[in-house]
């Protein structure tokens, strides 16, 4: 289902956590809310889910063409997965997943058998069959995460809201679960927003990346758009490595990604700048050079292929020429 957020503001005391958020999300999309800690991602997600509300009269939330701004969470059918899962510790995995069905008013509550079938089906979907009698405390982090997801899915949510879904997991599990979530989203097709402060995660997983900073949206776009065409200096710096350099005789600052720095022999006529290789690190198919610019004494990172490294026979202390392949200011 589509989600439209307009002019949303949220103030805590005197602190403006959200300062005028406008966002449109089309049906079936997997959207990443990306931004540094404290930028207002969780607050925005909670307001969309009905767990928090905008300042009175300041903004609206529309889900599936229906204005839900003042509706409580229970009426929104938004599946919410909390950063630390918030599983019910005293209930088994089965009871956790069944919760959303059990609390329905009698008229629309499914029968015992129907609930059982649905819960087991969901547990199969998140690959936790056989664990239904365990308590949350008897599960690993990744398993808890998937119980939380199954629990949220039990209410047939119109949208899925995930707050830092992989935040508390170790790197390996994180990677597996990331891939799994991508496939999972393709399978169920529910409009999904997930919060993350990890740019890699956002770029790899999302159809649309929403970059937030200090309670505002800096840019909305596909991963490629936000990475290749950052709208603001903040986005440039937040997404991927970036060098800030000045060319000689020009006052403006250039943003250059390490792979956009072309390394030439020191005597090459195309060289715009000259530098010394301070540090060289080669692992995998590419090599990372840390360069000290001769003109301004600033440092600059450059990524080149291993092949180029070997062909040019570079080592630490060498002098090289530099051409900035794709310079923007």
């Amino acid at each position: 289902m589509s989600i439209v957020v307009q002019n949303l503001r949220r103030t805590f005391g005197t602190f403006q956590a959200l300062r005028g958020i406008n966002l449109e999300i089309a049906d079936h999309q997997l959207v990443a809310l990306l931004g540094p800690s404290g930028s207002g991602k969780t607050t925005l997600l909670r307001i969309i889910g009905g767990l928090d509300f905008p300042d009175s009269g300041q903004g609206s939330v529309v889900i599936n063409e229906e204005d839900v701004t003042d509706r409580p969470a229970a009426e929104r059918k938004a599946g919410f997965v909390f950063q630390h899962y918030a599983l019910f510790n005293h209930l088994s995995v089965f009871e956790n997943v069944a919760f959303g069905l059990e609390v329905r008013p009698q008229k629309i509550r499914p029968g015992k058998d129907a609930i059982r079938d649905r819960v087991l089906e969901l547990l199969r979907l998140v690959q936790l069959q056989g664990l239904e009698q365990r308590l949350p405390s008897e599960l690993s982090g990744g398993q808890r995460q998937r119980v939380a997801l199954a629990r949220a899915l039990a209410i047939d949510p119109k949208v899925l809201l995930l707050d830092e879904p992989f935040g508390a997991l170790d790197a390996k599990v994180r990677k597996d679960l990331r891939r799994w979530l991508r496939a999972f989203h393709r399978e169920i097709g529910v409009t999904t927003i997930f919060v993350t402060h990890d740019q890699q995660e956002a770029l790899e997983l999302a159809d649309v990346v929403v970059v937030m900073n200090q309670g505002q949206i800096e840019q909305i776009g596909s991963p490629q758009q936000v990475y290749d065409h950052p709208a603001t200096p903040f986005v440039y710096e937040f997404l991927g490595d970036v060098n800030k350099v000045r060319k000689p005789g020009r006052p403006d600052l250039f943003y250059v990604r390490p792979h956009e720095v072309r390394i030439l022999f020191a005597g090459d006529a195309a060289a715009e700048l000259h530098a010394t290789i301070e540090h060289l690190f080669a692992a995998g198919p590419s090599a990372r050079l840390t360069l000290r610019l001769q003109e301004s004494r600033e440092t600059l990172d450059a990524d080149i292929t291993r092949q180029q490294l070997e062909e040019m026979g570079l080592s630490e202390g060498d002098e090289v020429g530099i051409h900035l392949a794709l310079s923007r200011s």
């Binding site: 409580p72 969470a73 918030a86 019910f88 919760f99 209410i155």
Partner: protein, 279 residues
């Protein structure tokens, strides 16, 4: 763990001395007096004990004590849960003031806690004339004693629950709400199970104090034998009349109550310990 490392580091004599001191102190100040209470109660034989315990005024004191506890403990349980809920789960102006107010009964002397009610509802109190016109008696009657007891014992439940509920946060409640649960369902199915042992613990402590309270109740009671004496007040009356066998017999009932409280408290701590190990 830390106990083990300590015990292997400290020399034996230090340990023996420290443990000996602790046990000796407990023996002198706790076990001996407790044992004396029972010894004194049964000194003149079981018959005298039974007579003292079943005497009309004693029975009336037991009845009044139970009534006072039965009314004030549930009131304070409800109040304690409500106040802890408000303090732990919401932020609002005057929160720290409310926190201090909850501790007030611990801070002021029980006599003052009793006098407050006399000032409000006594014959010459603020509402005294109005009460007399309507033929209502609060002071020197059960309602006053209940008020005084409620006031003195209201911190017990809240004090147990607030730190726990603050530590638990409200994510689980929010999860329940987003899954479609109503406020009441959320409380019943999520909040209550999470606090039940702490709540039970608070209620036991509250009950022990409600049945054992002396000072505040003494001020509002009026000491009418067979009518407005609770068990602790009754013990004092008997003792002042040099009827020590009966006084100690009644005191032994209160002591049994104390031991029962202790046993329940230990049981709860053991249960909670088990749960911690499992988690």
């Amino acid at each position: 763990m830390s106990v083990q490392t300590r015990s292997t580091q400290d020399p034996l004599w230090t340990r023996v001395l420290l443990i000996g001191c602790a046990v000796g102190f407990l023996a002198v100040f706790l076990f001996v007096p407790l044992a004396l209470v029972f010894a004194e109660a049964f000194r003149k034989g079981i018959k005298v004990y039974a007579d003292a315990v079943t005497e009309a005024n004693t029975l009336s004191a037991i009845y009044l004590t139970l009534t006072v506890a039965l009314v004030s403990v549930p009131l304070n349980a409800v109040f304690g849960v409500g106040a802890s809920w408000a303090i732990a789960k919401f932020s609002f102006k005057g929160k720290s003031l409310l926190l201090s107010l909850i501790d007030l009964p611990f801070a002021v002397s029980p006599v003052v806690s009793g006098l407050v009610w006399v000032l409000l509802f006594g014959a010459r109190g603020l509402f005294g004339p109005w009460l007399r016109e309507h033929d209502l008696q609060i002071i020197f009657a059960a309602p006053g004693m209940i008020l005084a007891t409620v006031f003195v014992t209201f911190p017990f439940v809240a004090r147990e629950l607030i730190p726990l509920m603050q530590a638990q946060g409200n994510d689980q409640e929010y999860a329940a709400l987003s899954l479609g649960a109503s406020g009441w369902q959320t409380f019943r199915r999520v909040t209550l199970p999470n606090i039940k042992w702490a709540l039970f613990y608070g209620i036991i402590l509250c009950n022990a104090r409600a049945m054992g309270e002396f000072g505040a109740v003494s001020v509002v009671s009026g000491h009418i034998r067979g009518e407005t004496n609770t068990l602790p007040l009754h013990v004092e009356v008997l003792y002042n009349e040099y009827n020590s066998a009966a006084a100690f017999a009644c005191a032994s009932i209160l002591s049994v109550l104390g031991l029962l409280t202790l046993a329940l408290k230990t049981f709860i701590e053991w249960r909670v310990g088990l749960r911690r190990q499992k988690h």
